[in-house]
Symmetry: C2
Subunit: 266 residues, 2 copies
Amino acid sequence: MELTRRKMLGAVAAGSCLVSSCMREEVKTAALTTGADAAWPYHELDPERTANLAYGYYPEGQCMYAVFRSIVGQLADQYGEPYRSFPYRMMAYGTNGVMGYGSLCGALNGAAAAISLFEARKEQRASLTGQVFLWYEQTELPVYAPATPKVDMLMPVTVAGSVLCHLSVGNWTKVSVYPAKGKERTERCSRLAADVARQTVLVLNAHLSGADALAIFSDKQVSQCNACHGPNGQRKDVAATMSCGSCHSSLPDTHPEISSKAPKVL
Amino acid sequence: MELTRRKMLGAVAAGSCLVSSCMREEVKTAALTTGADAAWPYHELDPERTANLAYGYYPEGQCMYAVFRSIVGQLADQYGEPYRSFPYRMMAYGTNGVMGYGSLCGALNGAAAAISLFEARKEQRASLTGQVFLWYEQTELPVYAPATPKVDMLMPVTVAGSVLCHLSVGNWTKVSVYPAKGKERTERCSRLAADVARQTVLVLNAHLSGADALAIFSDKQVSQCNACHGPNGQRKDVAATMSCGSCHSSLPDTHPEISSKAPKVL
């Protein structure tokens, strides 16, 4: 982190003095620099406590809000500013893949936002985000078991195979036979938000302590596709690392054969 | 809006007093309520100025950052807090569909976040977000023409047909034959961010003035698919309003015939 908490707190306190009686020009500059453009300090959090909080926050603003607030809100509770004045409610927009659109899973949107709040360096941020996104694509979820469930049910678990909300939910509805809108799906996504919040904290804690990245395997199929379509391939027509096969489930007849090392299993 | 700017500014200034010498318990409560959970006041912005700002901000943090900062940052410049202390840099995470994942277009992620910051009521927020997302899916973009282009080129325009980054970019690379990573694609996305920022401000201005929603047509195909798969259909296995046909470009042989009013053109 580029700033100590002391500096950050001072800067933000000073920033608000702009609209109170204690305005000073020198702190105005500090507030503009630190408040808007610097990473905020991350402090180690307890993964299980974070998961419990995310599960609890879900009804207030759903998936994105629950993940982001369970992480950043804990720091607000423990350290006050700048965390306290973040407009948390805004993050409710991620619900159901952004206001019902079914695009990016809101829990992941919240995780990526939190990671970015704490890590300004682009490569590190991409690595940390990948450790949550890849894990999400590949892991049977939800596994979080609330002490006091809002819906008491035997929870089916599924592999999302995608970072997209409607695919993640769709795989779950196929297996569970519950509808995509209903109290059981809401319970599933509440627990999923808890899982994503826990994973995000595990990743952030490891990063804070200087530990190696969590052992998560990259998607071989994505590598195969990007060998031709990616920025270093011959075609260079795709810039993406999200799972290919969850949508591109078959190759068109016109698609050239791919090498024996990359079998035609898309 | 539920709060006047005066109340908001007072509350946030008070919030920061928690870590300075001017702490008062009664304002602590106000800060917690307004800073974290209320909508922030929106003030009418000039759409063209916003587009210019977004184009200018793009190199600092790419698409999501450019859209969000061009809108909320103008209010920071004009009104100070609470807008000033927002950690804008965080929004850089939306780049290239979230840190290179190619999922949700970052310009749209930033637009949805800004709308949500200013509108707390869920139905209204969904309507405003839809007026940006549907327009994006259906419109030939980019149309923004910078006075001083960072890359001077004849810009090909394409219809994204999707809110997903790698589809939006992919359609453009097909037509333009430029690679998905390169200065021309960066220029395209800089201009696209300007277009999305402009559209978001048009939608927010209309909402502020109490005007009717902008005339944007809903996606008929989505309605057809949701007639069976949506929450009110027989199957209830999908909760999404993003364009179906951009990925589900053909129906499997096992798919039942759909009605004559909903021709098999998926």
